[in-house]
């Protein structure tokens, strides 16, 4: 978590709320970006949604609790929860240590993913945030 430039992985899609999304065979795998993880600080607990639950855009996808605050991750689109990563419940520090290598939820039946950013657009967004 040392200070410096934030990592942006090529080939992933991003939300403006600093989640990364990997799209494969209509399944959307979601995690938090290096920037989000470093902003949150030490992640203490993660509360995952129920598998099979239908979500509307903006519904609470999961809560990530750091030592200092609670961050709510909102669903970027209408979807269904296909899978959750139970490992982050038991070892939430993985989200601090390796945010791009640690997925949180997998979504299916996704509707309206038009607002996602590609890696270049997301890097530009990070540049515009003056730290």
């Amino acid at each position: 978590m040392s200070k410096g430039k934030y990592e942006v992985r090529e080939g992933l899609m991003y939300t403006k709320d600093h989640e990364w999304i990997m799209i494969k065979d209509d399944v959307f795998t979601v995690g938090i970006t290096d920037y989000a993880s470093r902003e949150m600080g030490d992640i203490a607990f993660v509360e995952l949604p129920e598998v099979g639950k239908a979500m509307k855009k903006g519904d609470l996808l999961c809560e990530i609790e750091s030592v200092k605050a609670v961050s709510e991750i909102r669903s970027p689109f209408d979807c269904t929860i296909k899978e959750v990563n139970k490992e982050v419940e038991d070892a939430p520090e993985a989200l601090s240590e390796d945010p791009f290598g640690t997925w949180i939820v997998r979504l299916e039946n996704v509707v309206d993913q038009m607002n996602l950013l590609n890696d270049k657009e997301y890097a530009k967004l990070l540049d515009s945030l003056d730290d």
Partner: protein, 386 residues
Amino acid sequence: MKKLPVDAWHQKHGKMVEFAGWEMPLWYEGIREEHLAVRNGIGAFDVSHMGEIIVSGKDALSFLQWTTTNDIKKPPPISGTYALVLNERGAIKDETLVYNMGDDTYMVVCDAVAVPKLVAHFTTLKNTIEQFSTVDLTITDKTEHMCLFSIQGPKAQQLCISLFGVDIMDMWWFQAKKIKHNGASIILSKSGYTGENGFELFFDVIKDKSDVATSLWEEILKKGEPYGIKPCGLGARDTLRIESGYTLYGHETQEKQVLSEDVDEVTPLEAGLDFAISFDKDFIGKQALLIQKERGVTYHLAHFTLLDKAIPREGDKIIKHGNVIGEITSGTKSPLTGSAIAIGRIKSGVTGMVSIEVRGTPRKARIVSPPFYDPKKYGACREVEI
């Protein structure tokens, strides 16, 4: 916003936040890593935001005896006494360390947020006395002219010996020594607020010579490398004191700040700080405490370990048998145990299991005795050598 004397270093290495009017490092590498460095080896904190109020003159001792709860006459120079400043209702204005520096001079070390109010309190009292009599008393706020570095952890003593080459093996807790180091005069005090053994370095900031502070800070980190030293921010400072079960002004202790219908001020008797009161002397707030002692306290501080995975935050309600019985004052996740832990105020007599309403959801918690760590394995009284 006020800046620390080695601000440039912190800006470069840490995540900065505003705290009590100061721009402070919240963390460098991460709260958990820094916390564990202090428990297992050593951590260095720049806490120069802490207040230093110098009270001096022939009447300084009797003035401080009257304005603080503990008997500060006892410890010889140079050493400190943990003492509380109370208002006339017995509520806590701040928790302080009063150092007897010798030559009728005392240094009151207080929380940054309380500096203006304590200076005003002391000055008002001095002015009141002067209405009727002469008094030999000077009150000087040196907060912005002093640096305070804190070196904490089971390896802190070894590092200080290698840094300063002075004999500190037999120092008692709160004892201090004046030392010279690279031209700077340092007050080296055996003290801290992490639960671990540790030392604090007070020294003057010489104008336009902030490089003295920077080079000492860098030297501490460099010489601490073999011991696994980490620079630590306010985040770890808070998790360490919560894990030790220690109170912090503005959270566990306070005056006139509405928290709930029943509790708006906290006295030392409610905060479990009886050890810092000397009823043998007179002091502001004593009459109120005597009345409360006779009636009995209705609220007291309690410590909680959560069975569920959620951190209670300040203001969260504590519930037993469907009734609200108190409020959380501080909460975090213990990096040592991995459990959420909290301190709060509850109605006296409640024991066992309670619920804490965290963001609308009741969470199971057990009332425990502090510290939250195993004192045989961690803290200043550990039995395990590192």
